[in-house]
Amino acid sequence: MRTITGIPASYGIAIGPAFIFERVEMVIEPCNIQDPEAELKRYAEARETTQGQLDEAYAKAKEELGDEAAEIFSAQKLMLEDPELLSTVKSRVESELVNVETALFETAESYAQQLEAIDDEYLSARALDIRDVSSRCLRNLLGLVDSPAAGLNTPSIIVSWDLTPSDTVLLNKEYVLGFCTAEGGSTSHTAILARGLGIPAVVGAGQEIEKINTGDDLVIDGDAGKIIIDPDKKALKDFKDRQVKFLKVQAEAESISHEPAITTDGHQVEVVANIGNVDGIQPALDAGAEGVGLLRSEFLYLERRNLPTEEEQYQSYKTIADAFGDKPVILRSLDVGGDKDIPYINMPPETNPFLGVRAIRLCLTRPELFKPQLRAALRAGYGNNLKLMFPMVATVEDVKQVKLVLEECKKELRAEGLDVAEKMDIGIMIEIPSAAIMADQLAEVVDFFSIGTNDLSQYTMAADRTNAHVAPLASGFQPAVFRLIKTVIDAAHAKGKWVGLCGEMAGELLAIPILLGLGLDEFSMNPPAIPFAKRLIRSISFEHAQQVAEVALNLGGDQEIRDYIQETVPEVNRE
C-alpha cells in the first residue's frame, strides 16, 4: 500500500482499477477468414476513414502547430496508401486467409522494425509514424473510438499526466469512476469536469503517479486529496465504509433537492446551475436547480471550424431559456482567450493571454463575433426570463461600450420586425479586482453582478489557477478574496442590486456558510453540487453564517479558513 498526496479537486471516494490514459494498447487477435474479398473491402473502408481523420489532423496541426507538425500527417497519409504495404497485406489476406488486422499489424510492424534497425534518429521517428498510422487504421478496423481512451471498457479511475478539454471529450463517462492527474489545480479542466460529473478527483499529484499501472487497485479520496495504491484490507474497508456514509448523505441531500434553500431562521437564497449547452437542461432540473446562473456560450463555438450563425445560437438559447420557463437563465457572452482557444477565431498569440485580449475585450473589437450573439440573445429572450451577462469587465467604460452595441442590435432587430426582449436584465461578471473595487459605480449601470471566483482569485492573488504549485493561493479561500466579495455584495445591495456567484466556490460546502453570511443572493454551481448545497443551507441559520463570515474575513490563509469552518459548522461534512 502506498499513498500519494495531491490537491482535492472533487469530493467523494472512488474505489477501482486504474486506467492510464495516455498509453494505448491494442489487442490484435489472429484468426482465419472465409471471404478475402469482404476482408479487403473492410480494409479499404477503414483506410478511407483514416484518410479523413488524417486530413483533419493535418488541418488542425497546420493551424495550431505550424507546417512542420502538419507535415507528419501528410507523410502518414503516404504510408497509409503505400503500395508495397497494400500489396503485402492483400496477398497475405488472399493466400493465407488471415484477418486484415493481423496482416496489417504484422506488415506495418516489420517495416517499423526495419526502419528502427537503421541507426538514424529521423528514421526511428518514421518507425513511430508507421506504427501510429497503422494503429489508427487498426482502431478504425476494430471499430474503436479514435482516442487514447479506446481501451477504457470497464469502470476505472483515470490516471493521467493532465487532461485537456479535447481528451476529456473522448472519455466514455460511463466507465469513469474518478480522476487523478499529475498536474493542475482545483480549478483545472480535470477538476471542473470531475465536479461537473459529480465524481471524485485528485489533481496536482506530481510525477509519483507515473508509478501507477493500468489495472492497479486504487482508492482516491477526493476530500483529502489522497491516492492510495494497492490499499490493504483494513484501509479498503475504511474507505468502503466512508463511501457508504457518503452515499447515505447524498441520498438525504437528493430527497430535499427540490425544496427551497431557506436557512433555519428563514433567510432564502437562490440555488441555480452552471450549464454549457442544451444537454445540461435536464440534469440541472433533476438536481433541483431554480434556474441557470451561468450558461456558458463557448460550447456552441467549440469543436467546429466556423462561427455558429445567429440562427443556430438563437435556437439553442431559446430552447434553454424556454425549458426553464419563468425561472432565470443567465447567458454569458463569449468568453474565449486565457486558457480557452477557438482556432478559427484566429486570436493572435499573446505572451500573457490571461491578461490579454480575452472575453469582452475580444468581442468589443470583433463585431462579427459579438453582434450575432447579442442579436440571438435578444431574440431568444422574448417571452421568457433570459438575462445577459458579460465576462471580464474591468471598467464602467467597458459596460457603456457593451450597452452601445446592445442598443444598436436592438434597433436593427426592431427595424427588421423581429421580436426583441426589450427589458432584458444586463449583468456583469466580477472577476477582475478593479471591478470588485469599483463595484459601487458599476452597480449603477447594471442590473446584477455575478462573481467569478476562479478568475477573481487568480488575479487577486497573482496565482495561476492552472499551476499546481500555487493552488492554495488560487483556491479563493483567502481572506483577501472574501473581503473583495464582501465589498461587491455591500456595494450592490446599497444600490438595490443582487449578487450571484458562479465560480467553483459556490458549490464548495466549506465556502457556502461564509458566502451566505456575507449576504450572497444567488449560488450558481454544477448540478451535482446542488442537493448538497441546499441540504447545508437548510440546516444552518443565517445568524450563525454571519458570525462565521465575520471571523473568516480576519483569519490567515486557505487552510486556516477551511479548518475553522470544518470545526464551527459541522453540517458541512458529507460523511
Binding site: E71, S74, A75, D82, E84, L115, I118, D120, Y122, R126
Partner: protein, 89 residues
C-alpha cells in the same frame, strides 16, 4: 528499362520531406519506377521502402522506369533530385 544515376545532395538524404516528394513525384506516373541504392532495389512509389534504403547525403541512387511515360518519369525525378528537392540555401 531506361535508367539514370543521380547523387543526393540534400542535407538529410532521401529522408524526411525529400523522400515524401520523391515518392509523390514517382506516383504521378503510370510507369513502374524503381530506385536502387547499393545492393537494394525498391519500389519508388513506396515511402516505406524508399525510407528503408537509408540513402544519406552524397549517396548515389539509380532510378529505373518502365511503361508508357517512363522517360517523363525519369526526367521529373532527375530534375527533383538535381534541384535539391526545391530547397536552396
Amino acid at each position: 528499362m531506361p535508367e539514370i544515376a543521380v547523387t543526393i545532395n540534400h542535407e538529410v538524404g532521401l529522408h524526411a520531406r525529400p523522400a515524401s516528394m520523391f515518392v509523390k513525384t514517382a506516383t504521378k506516373f503510370s510507369s513502374d519506377v524503381e530506385v536502387t541504392h547499393g545492393e537494394v532495389t525498391v519500389n519508388a512509389k513506396s515511402i516505406l521502402a524508399v525510407l528503408t534504403l537509408g540513402a544519406h547525403k552524397n549517396a548515389e541512387i539509380i532510378i529505373k522506369a518502365e511503361g508508357v511515360d517512363a522517360e517523363e518519369a525519369l526526367k521529373a525525378l532527375k530534375e527533383l533530385v538535381l534541384d535539391n528537392f526545391g530547397e536552396h540555401e
